[in-house]
């Protein structure tokens, strides 16, 4: 994939390293010239015409000199347990050339992490490599003696684990921790300290010297992850293993970390192994991917081709389970993979995926398929690849239209009952499960002026919110925006404060303890963390029965479980025997025990694998159709919210900055903050479709025009600003990389890089209002009006259809993200769309300063309040440094 990007004519020279003393920049990797994907290799026909590939790059990227990079051959790992040796990884082979990124994808429990740990030989107790080899630059890792292994790890291996916070020593300052790694490499004390700061700059942390003096808890999650990445780079590794580096981070931060990794891979010459449960996410960043299922590689090949035309049903199902931005549940149900992967040691005759695969037949159940090489350097382990490929499009995506489709997983009653709920306008009462006593004109829930504080910090600041009957209101915001506090307040949990919450026009008590039985029954909640939401001491049946009794419901535990697609035999299990998805299903069943009218869903899927998430989202959607219950659904992921919600409210720093029908909010014109979320979300996964686009076709022209129009119109609004023409970008790779990466790379200025480095932090600023008036987003907003936005509270603008935006800009000037990706296939790259409306900041700078005006591409590139002034200064100095050739 990079092959295309880097091999293209627009390839800029590699950036100057941020700092001179740590020159990790290496010449572009050797594979550059031999672009394995010929022109047109990305077209749709390619899916079955891989013969067009020129080079037999063989099983994998063996482009480099013999022995360079990572080579894994027939690797098997097993654990000693009470039941004897249990294989966790079986006969896995792949190669990663230096500078190449290889993605390993699969659900939890498929052996990804075991595989990654086997690469550096740091398996947990009881685990051992039972066969096969791992070679890194010719070094046989399994054969190393303990002393050699230690030395090899210091010099050649770097691992980034899932939870960055726990990889850092909480008692040590960041700088000292990094220096420690460098000292291990044999640097002197002072030198190590200097280099540590340089490394922090390399991972684009703002004001690295200040960061170096902080302790880990003083950094945000994204910043911690950057520090860990900096530490990994300090070793100049030959093998870099990234184990779910973005899981658990906000969508926007996730996007930035991937972005950083994308940027850094060009600078390091390591073989990179990236592990994730999200194929769509990883596919964008990797040259090749391997899909792991039950410890075996089931499919392997160039990432774009695997994503465009999967040859294994599992891959196909993984892809189909990702919610796409702007695709609502009304348009397409998500396709979840039924069941769960086999636990290691569980005997599955034949193909391990057969029990969950709709294409499976007797052959699959009897004979284990081999990993057959397919044309195009791909391999797949399936008897029925042909059948899968024969199905047009992805057979896994439209279960409702194609009843025979592999993952239809229909809920019997949902279709008949559901239609009434889903067709009506969301605001109209469509008859909730039981009769209500309120007049029908009154919305179900009305929140007015709700304010909640923790100590002196205002977390929810005068929020107004309305939820209609049978309506799903999606609430989006980043971590710390107050969305969870708001949701808990609606449920009657959390601190007390001012403001009213009315149900059916009647005011609810602020705390759940004071609500009467009827009100409690009406408002229920699904919590974020499946691990804590069920009492570990009770069986599922006891939990559900108790909920039914407590809420005065009429159903039995078994009925509730059946409606939540929870297997009968799990009813008598305790929660520790359930998977995350099953726990969340049980929690949903519990919330529905008393036929609630409003269910508050607080990030119910953010802790789940993508494939499991799809199942839970579908369940929520089906329950909603079935019962006509309203949801207050919270997520930081816009695509998830967009799937479920009829209306969306966007929350930023305790305020609702925008609210309206889902399509209006997603398409715009919308609040600049929403625009940035949409852009990040698009970039996260643009549809695999966009990746299939032919390479190198610039499609930026119309975009450019409209960008200039917008700048013009904004000027006409009486605001002076320096405009910078939108620049042309190759869409092919901008679709994989995000817009801002494209901006940084097409070589316009070095200053942009500096700007970008700095811009990075604005997303991770401490998200607490400091009692200031004005728009909370002003500091990060690319469109802010100096002297107005940061001092005067923005008015609420109505743009029709019940769509409101809290912004000082005229509605005509609001950013507009345009069509949603699905409808626009000959796409301008998502990045382009994200940027086209973004004129430079309205910083009141003298025209002569034009070049020094931060060429803001987007909201991301503005300054954080705290650092605004001083980052501007440092930027100028950096500009000077970078400017010198």
């Amino acid at each position: 994939m990079t092959g295309r990007a880097t091999g293209g004519p627009r390839l800029p020279a590699p950036r100057e390293p941020v700092t001179r003393d740590v020159d990790l920049t290496r010449p572009r990797r050797p594979g550059q010239g031999e672009n394995p994907h010929g022109p047109g290799a990305w077209s749709e026909e390619n899916s079955h015409g891989p013969g067009s590939r020129s080079g037999g790059s063989g099983e994998s990227g063996e482009g480099g000199p013999a022995g360079r990079g990572l080579r894994v051959t027939g690797l098997s790992v097993s654990y000693r347990t009470a039941r004897g040796e249990v294989p966790a990884v079986t006969n896995v082979s792949f190669d990663v050339a230096p500078g190449e990124t290889y993605g390993i994808v699969g659900e939890s429990g498929c052996g990804k992490t075991t595989l990654s740990r086997a690469l550096g030989r740091h398996l947990p107790p009881g685990g051992s490599i039972t066969g096969g080899g791992v070679t890194v630059d010719g070094v046989e890792v399994p054969a190393l003696s303990p002393a050699e292994l230690r030395r090899w790890r210091t010099t050649s291996l770097a691992v980034v684990h899932q939870e960055a916070g726990s990889s850092l020593d909480p008692t040590m300052r960041i700088g000292a921790q990094l220096a420690e790694v460098l000292r291990l490499q044999g640097r002197g004390r002072a030198e190590a300290r200097r280099e540590a700061v340089a490394l922090l700059a390399r991972v684009r942390l703002p004001d690295p010297a200040a960061i170096a003096r902080r302790y880990p808890h003083q950094l945000s999650g994204g910043q911690q992850q950057r520090v860990v990445i900096a530490a990994a780079l300090a070793t100049r590794p030959r093998l870099l293993v990234l184990d779910e580096p973005t899981t658990g981070l906000d969508a926007t931060v996730q996007h930035e970390i991937l972005d950083l990794l994308w940027a850094l891979r060009a600078e390091t010459d390591a073989a990179v192994v990236l592990i994730s449960h999200d194929l769509a996410l990883v596919g964008r960043l990797c040259e090749r991917v391997g899909v792991l299922y039950a410890g075996r590689m089931v499919e392997e090949g160039p990432a774009a081709e695997v994503m465009a035309s999967p040859r294994h049903p599992y891959t196909s199902a993984l892809l189909a389970s990702v919610p796409r931005l702007g695709v609502s549940r009304h348009a397409r149900e998500l396709a979840a993979i039924p069941g769960r992967p086999p636990v290691p040691g569980e005997e599955v005759g034949g193909c391990a995926f057969a029990p969950r695969c709709a294409l499976a037949d007797d052959l699959c159940r009897k004979r284990t398929p081999a990993l057959e090489p397919a044309p195009g350097g791909r391999r797949a382990r399936c008897h029925h690849t042909d059948r899968l490929l024969a199905t047009p499009g992805s057979p896994f995506e439209e279960p409702s239209d194609a009843p025979g489709a592999p993952f239809a997983e229909p809920l019997d009653s949902s279709d008949s009952t559901g239609s009434s709920g889903s067709t009506g306008s969301p605001l109209e009462p469509t008859g909730p499960a039981d009769g209500t006593d309120a007049p029908s004109g009154v919305p179900l829930l009305e929140v007015r002026g709700l304010t909640r504080k923790y100590g002196r910090t205002i977390v929810v600041d005068g929020v107004d919110l309305t939820i209609g009957r049978a309506e799903v209101l999606g609430l989006v915001g980043e971590s710390g925006s107050g969305k969870t506090t708001l949701a808990r307040a609606v449920a009657g949990l959390g601190p007390r404060g001012t403001g009213t919450i009315a149900l059916h026009g009647r005011e609810l008590a602020a705390t759940v303890g004071r609500r009467d039985a009827r009100d409690r029954r009406r408002v229920q909640m699904v919590f974020q963390n499946p691990e804590t939401s069920l009492n570990p001491s009770h069986t599922v049946r006891a939990i559900l029965t108790r909920a039914v009794r407590g809420l005065g419901g009429s159903r039995t535990a078994a009925e509730l479980a059946a409606r939540a697609s929870l297997d009968d035999h799990l009813l008598d299990a305790r929660p520790d025997r359930l998977s995350g998805g099953q726990k969340q299903r049980a929690a949903i069943a519990r919330a529905f025990a008393g036929d609630p009218e409003l269910v508050v869903c607080d990030e119910p899927v953010s802790a789940l694998d993508v494939s499991v998430q799809a199942g839970v989202l579908r369940l929520l959607s089906e329950q909603q159709r079935l019962t006509g219950t309203s949801y207050l659904f919270i997520s930081h992921d816009l695509a998830v919210v967009g799937y479920l919600a009829d209306r969306i409210a966007v929350m930023y720093r305790g305020r609702i900055v925008e609210e309206g029908p889902a399509s209006r909010v997603l398409a715009g014109p919308h609040h600049p903050y929403t625009a940035s979320l949409v852009a990040a979300s698009r970039a996260r996964l643009d549809d695999p479709e966009s990746i299939r686009l032919p390479a190198g076709e610039p499609a930026e022209e119309p975009v450019k025009e409209s960008a200039e129009e917008r700048v013009g119109s904004a000027r006409a609004g009486g605001i002076t600003r320096e405009s910078e023409p939108a620049r042309a970008r190759p869409s092919g790779w901008a679709s994989r990389i995000r817009w801002e990466r494209a901006a940084g790379r097409d070589g316009v200025t070095k200053r942009k890089d500096a700007n970008e480095r700095k811009g990075v932090n604005v997303w991770e600023g401490v998200n607490v209002r400091e009692g200031a008036t004005g728009c909370g987003f002003a500091a990060r907003c690319p469109l802010r009006i100096e002297g107005l936005c940061d001092s005067v509270d923005p008015p609420v603008a109505h743009t029709g259809d019940g769509h409101t935006v809290r912004c000082h800009l005229d509605t005509g000037d609001l950013p507009d993200t345009g069509d949603l990706p699905r409808t626009a296939v000959p796409v301008t790259a998502p990045g382009d769309r994200g940027t086209r409306h973004d004129p430079p900041t309205r910083d009141a700078k003298a025209p002569g300063d034009a070049q020094h005006t931060p060429a803001t591409q987007h909201a991301r590139h503005t300054h954080d309040t705290r650092d605004a002034q001083d980052s501007r200064d440092t930027q100028d100095t950096r500009d000077k440094e970078d400017g010198s050739p």
């Binding site: 230690r150 990889s167 420690e180 590794p237 949990l493 409690r520 804590t532 009492n535």
Partner: protein, 283 residues
């Protein structure tokens, strides 16, 4: 960095299963042996532990008297066996009382929080700051010497310790979503406490019980050493050490035997407690 830390983690690992079993079996055997002795010592002793024999005073260990005799010619071995009973009467009862009371107090304080928590915990603080030995002396002086008094004194000094651990565990559980879900369906605090929280602080309670049991043995021995336990002349371990300490140089075996008996019982309990704790906390 991560690689380095991960590497270090891999080097020090133990085969948890085997360690667990050895400690549990060894400790369990010790405790069980003493329990049998406490129950059946009248059948096991070679001599009457109370019988004076002026002709055989201060005999060193030998074939007649395995562990020698004391100043009155009483058989040390028989006295050691007989001494197990008073200790094993007091310690389990005291532990049980302390754990039950402490768990109740800790659960209430943790679940209700606020003013209730504040009052209960400050009261417990007041108990803790009062020196336990002085309290015991006062109590025995007022109520007289008996097993009941010993039990109450030992239990009373352990209640605050148990209560604090249980309260801490309760506070952790109380914040979890399943408790909030129970509140959302209208469970009352008492029912929250019993149904939702209590089963999940069980591990803490068990860990406390095993740790306190060892301490209770020691506390009972200490009290009887100070003369607050059994009446003088009884074969109690603490009292024996106290009675014979003047003859330490002449007949060290008279002290060593009861001292080692206390030590072996406490160590046995600690071994069992540690291995069980490892298992409970892992699960």
């Amino acid at each position: 960095m991560s690689a380095v830390t991960a590497g270090a983690g891999g080097v020090r690992r133990r085969v948890a299963g085997r360690d667990f079993r050895v400690a549990l079996v060894a400790g369990g055997a010790l405790v069980l042996a003493w329990a049998v002795v406490a129950a059946f010592w009248p059948q096991l002793v070679p001599y009457d532990p109370l019988r004076h024999d002026p002709l055989s005073r201060f005999l060193p260990p030998g074939p007649e008297h395995w562990l020698g005799t004391d100043q009155f010619g009483r058989d040390t071995f028989s006295r050691m066996l007989a001494g197990a009973r008073p200790v094993l009467q007091v310690a389990p009862l005291a532990t049980a009382l302390a754990v039950v009371a402490g768990t109740a107090v800790g659960l209430v304080a943790g679940t209700f929080g606020g003013l209730v928590d504040e009052i209960v915990m400050r009261l417990l603080d007041a108990v803790v700051v009062f020196p336990a030995i002085i309290a015991a002396v006062l109590f025995v002086a007022l109520a007289g010497r008996s097993v009941t008094v010993m039990v109450l004194v030992v239990a009373g000094s352990f209640v605050p310790i148990v209560a604090r651990s249980v309260r801490a565990a309760t506070l952790v559980e109380r914040e979890k979503a399943y408790v909030e879900a129970a509140r959302l369906r209208g469970e009352r605090p008492w029912s929250l406490m019993r149904r939702e929280i209590f089963p999940n602080v069980g591990t803490t309670v068990l860990v406390e019980a095993t740790s306190r049991f060892g301490d209770a043995i020691f506390a009972a021995a200490t009290l009887s050493f100070l003369g607050l336990g059994q009446p003088p002349g009884s074969p109690d371990w603490g009292a024996s050490v106290s009675d014979n300490r003047v003859w330490l140089q002449l007949a060290p075996w008279t002290i060593l035997a009861p001292a080692l008996a206390i030590a072996s019982l406490v160590v046995g309990i600690a071994l069992v407690a540690d291995s069980l704790r490892g298992r409970w906390e892992a699960s």
